[in-house]
Amino acid sequence: MTRITMREAISQALWEEMEKDPDVFIMGQEVGVWGGTYAVTKGFYDHFGPKRVRDTPISESAIVGAAIGAALTGLRPVAELMTINFAFIAMDQIVNEAAKLHYMFGGQMVLPVVIRTVGGGGRQLGATHSQTPDAIFAHFPGLKVVAPGTPADAKGLLKAAIRSQDPVLFIEHATLYQTRGEVPDGEYIVPIGKSIVQRPGRDVTIVTYSKMLEISLKAAEKLSVEGIEAEIVDLRSLRPLDMEPVIESFKKTNRAVIVEEGWPSYGVGAEVSSRIYEQAFDYVDAPIKRVAQKEVPLPYNRTLEQMAIPDVDNVIAAVKEVL
């Protein structure tokens, strides 16, 4: 166990997997000479060389498509899309190729590809560079979607993703890279598709993931001062979506708040709340609440942007409403 940042944890997972398996390589814009726009792959180019650390042109479709093709030959590419906002350009490759090939050809094609990308707002990057559209990628069967909220999970899940035989979209959060946490040294795997309780509590269940885990934990601390103990379940994977810990917690608290950074409509909260009602209807004591982004493209102005993104107070208010 060492206390490191999310950035270091992700970097470590990549580094260890590349050291361990010569078939693992990374490709993407500025992953090499630059060292990664978020410095995640700093030092990789010098150590692993241009063959395994491949800078690409600004060609999102080709980045994902070529990674898929290489994966079909048995390699384990980790393709990086600088931000999830650019993943829309590669959307066809992600949902029509990556998510379909194994099924459509009757199982004969196997594509162990990981698409690493970065989402989230709060940095005044404006409407096209601040999105959290994680849910729309999780809509497609055939694709696995992971979005860690802690350094340890980031390391363990990324290693699992790299070793997985299935295509995985790995969504990091731009404002979590500095977040520190205890991370197991060396070999450490967190299975994809397993939610987990990040904070025990008895009064209300907060279901969240990625950056909003941090916000929810802060809210929980404040609530605890008032004697309200929130149990926080971190989804970690959006597909497969593991409801077990959520339902278990809910059957205990009978109240839930779902916190996501993205827009509420057709988002993560909608799916999770629907499943809670479907799977634990008799345990519902109050309407489940969704805390999410305001339904607007994110503006540049800092004050307005902050108004639009869920914060600690929003979570606290929602919790009090369901109690």
Binding site: A62, G65, T73, E97, M104, G106, Q165
Partner: protein, 319 residues
């Protein structure tokens, strides 16, 4: 080239033709569903190209893939079974006409999204380079596909990374009902390769021997590190874009004129004129091909439907 190889090429072309004529009938009978894009008229293209590949060379194409499948050595039975959606099909009945593949034969599929398989081809080639395997990836696509973004990104990436890909553009004059002139900035497709400083060439796609010759040379160069090359193959689709094409966009005279150029007829004459084979021998090949198709239909029709559980299989490799 030995006689039996010539006969083999002739056999493949006739087999593709008969297979598809049969498929068209089965489609009318409602035994084949979805989209059915016939390759009739273009048989010399894939037959010539793929006859020049080595087993380690990879092939990937679009949805007009029956011919490519046959040329890559996929069993007629399994191809026909796929058309009928049976569990014995090359893709277990899940892919259908547009999604034939057999990775054990290095055929990486029929892909139905125009242009989407071009980046995949770059990746397949990258796999070989990465493993230092001397193999060529043959990526086939149509003239219409050269106008989509992924064409640009794939060719650019292949050149920047010096990947062993042969970009084989089947120029059959139309993308659905749109002529090249109405869809492409340049009417001479091969000129697009200039924008990538990519070596390019053009060949008559109705002449299987000409295609084969070109392919042999280009594959050799690419195999030995020339970097990606572009080959435009001029051909023509005798049937509609897919079944039920009103064909308002072309005159039947134009179609008939091209049919004079039937690639099978041309090769047939060539084999006779060059005294490579006698009419009787060629007839025998035809009879044999027809028998194979007949048997394939029987095989396919008597094959079982996929089990209901199959619906849920192969979504993921792991859970």
């Amino acid at each position: 080239m030995e006689k039996k190889e010539y006969l083999n090429l002739y056999h493949q072309m006739v087999l593709i033709r008969r297979l598809e004529e049969q498929a068209a009938e089965l489609y009318q009978q409602g035994k084949i569903g979805g989209f059915l894009h016939l390759y009739i008229g273009q048989e010399a293209v894939s037959t010539g190209l793929i006859s020049a590949r080595k087993p380690e060379d990879r092939v990937i194409t679009a949805y007009r893939d029956h011919g490519v499948a046959i040329n890559c050595g996929l069993p007629v039975n399994a191809v026909m079974a796929e058309l009928l959606g049976k569990s014995t099909g090359v893709s277990k009945g899940k892919g259908g006409s547009m999604h034939m593949a057999d990775v054990t034969k290095n055929f990486w599929g029929g892909h139905a999204i125009v242009g989407a398989h071009l980046p995949l081809a770059a990746g397949l080639a990258l796999g070989d380079v990465y493993r230092e395997q001397k193999a060529v990836t043959i990526c086939m696509f149509g003239d219409g596909a050269t106008n989509i973004g992924s064409f640009h990104e794939a060719l650019n990436l292949a050149k920047v990374w010096n990947l062993p890909v042969v970009w084989a553009c089947e120029n059959n004059q139309y993308g659905m009902g749109t002529t090249i002139e109405r869809a492409s900035a340049v009417s001479e497709i091969r000129r697009k390769a200039d924008g990538y400083g990519m070596k390019n060439d053009v060949v008559d796609g109705m002449d299987v021997m000409a295609v084969r010759e070109k392919a042999l040379n280009i594959f050799e160069e690419v195999r030995n590190g020339s970097g990606p090359q572009f080959l435009e193959i001029k051909t023509y689709r005798f049937r509609g874009h897919s079944m039920g094409d009103p064909e308002r966009y072309r005159k039947q005279e134009e179609v008939h004129a091209w049919q004079e150029n039937d690639p099978i007829g041309i090769f047939h004459r060539y084999l006779l004129e060059q005294k490579i084979a006698a009419e009787a021998e060629l007839q025998e090949v035809v009879v044999q091909a027809e028998a194979e198709v007949k048997a394939a239909v029987e095989f396919a029709e008597s094959s079982p439907e996929p089990a209901p559980e199959a619906l849920y299989e192969n979504v993921y490799v792991e859970g």
